[in-house]
Symmetry: C2
């Protein structure tokens, strides 16, 4: 498969593919001669993943490169490789240490994790980008005057835990580590918007049931 065909089958313009090659998001094809390179199904698959990351997941090109670097790093163990790939995904803004709301948020998040018995999350704590961004988000809610304490969040966290258990069950069906890590990245970037859409649909449905359409 040459560039033009890769472009046709993926729906991505040749100029953009060249751009991704330059940015290291896509491995170069097998060079046949000075003016021809050949691509395979793997390139097509990777290109579709890159598109999904960037267009659906709104992942910046630089972050996408980091994520894919970890996905491709076969020297790492399964868990580390997965963590490295997921932690490279962009998170919400960092917490503002100056802000008193951040201190309150830190307390609430810690209380939440204790309530839930998520000991690992508590121990890793501020090391995890996810943990830090959760603190920043809770701080923003507090600043706007919306209650966002451990009691409010706990039932939602339980629901998300059920979802996460299901995610891992699905991932265990993959044989190779590479497939698993790739599916985890896909899940984080593509399945989360699906969850969000389901959430909003459920809100519309429930709202219509309670108050009618009017």
């Amino acid at each position: 498969m040459r560039l033009a065909e890769l472009s046709a089958r993926s729906g991505v313009s040749t100029a953009t593919i060249k751009y991704y090659l330059r940015e290291g998001l896509l491995a170069p094809g097998r060079q046949l001669n000075a003016t021809t390179a050949e691509y395979d199904e793997g390139h097509l698959r990777r290109l579709r993943l890159v598109r999904a990351l960037i267009q659906v997941g709104r992942v910046p090109v630089a972050s996408a490169r980091e994520v894919l670097k970890h996905v491709d790093d076969e020297s790492l163990g399964r868990t580390i490789r997965l963590g490295a790939a997921l932690w490279a995904l962009p998170q919400a803004p960092e917490p503002d240490e100056e802000d008193p709301a951040t201190a309150a948020a830190t307390t609430e998040v810690d209380r939440l994790l204790r309530t839930l018995g998520w000991e690992t999350a508590r121990e890793i704590g501020a090391l995890s980008p996810v943990h830090r961004s959760l603190v920043a988000l809770v701080a923003t809610q507090i600043r706007l005057g919306y209650p966002c304490d451990a009691e409010t969040m706990a039932p939602y966290a339980e629901l998300m835990h059920q979802a996460a258990a299901r995610d891992l069950d699905r991932m265990e069906t993959y044989e190779s580590d590479t497939e698993m890590v790739e599916s985890a990245v896909s899940s984080a970037v593509l399945f989360e918007p699906v969850l969000r859409a389901l959430h909003r649909l459920a809100q519309e449905e429930e709202s219509a049931r309670r108050y009618g359409l009017e």
Copy 2:
């Protein structure tokens, strides 16, 4: 409160506040004379909401203006006002009608809604931006070769339905429609990232429980 104080208390530069005024995201202050305008707590609150929408929710300025327009439109009924505000939020890319994956995705989403008994969502169907973006997202998953059928999604949808019911319970605690709509927007834009962070934290926790930290 004058511009400088509004800026100090919100942490937003005066230049940026002027920009928001120009863009119609913030109502002008009460003009005291040719060179002085006065702002109140309401302006501060709205400014913080605007910041949250743009910085945390990554809502484009133009969309934020649309959303706030509906939030402020007291002539509308509660349900319509809420729907209008939420539908103005940016969604994932639109489905590509050409793509055969879109057809498959439409089938699966319809099957899902039938399984769940979400009749309103089925009837509104393609009218809802949320519905359309769900179809587009499922199509992307299918294109990448990940199973994303009604059976896979149904349990997640049930979980999201529980979350949505809880959301509406929380919203009912607000007295005025304006407060309620504002909290719904906040919930959609700020609480969804909280849910996402909880989801990822839960994944880390569950993964550590199953496979250890290594």
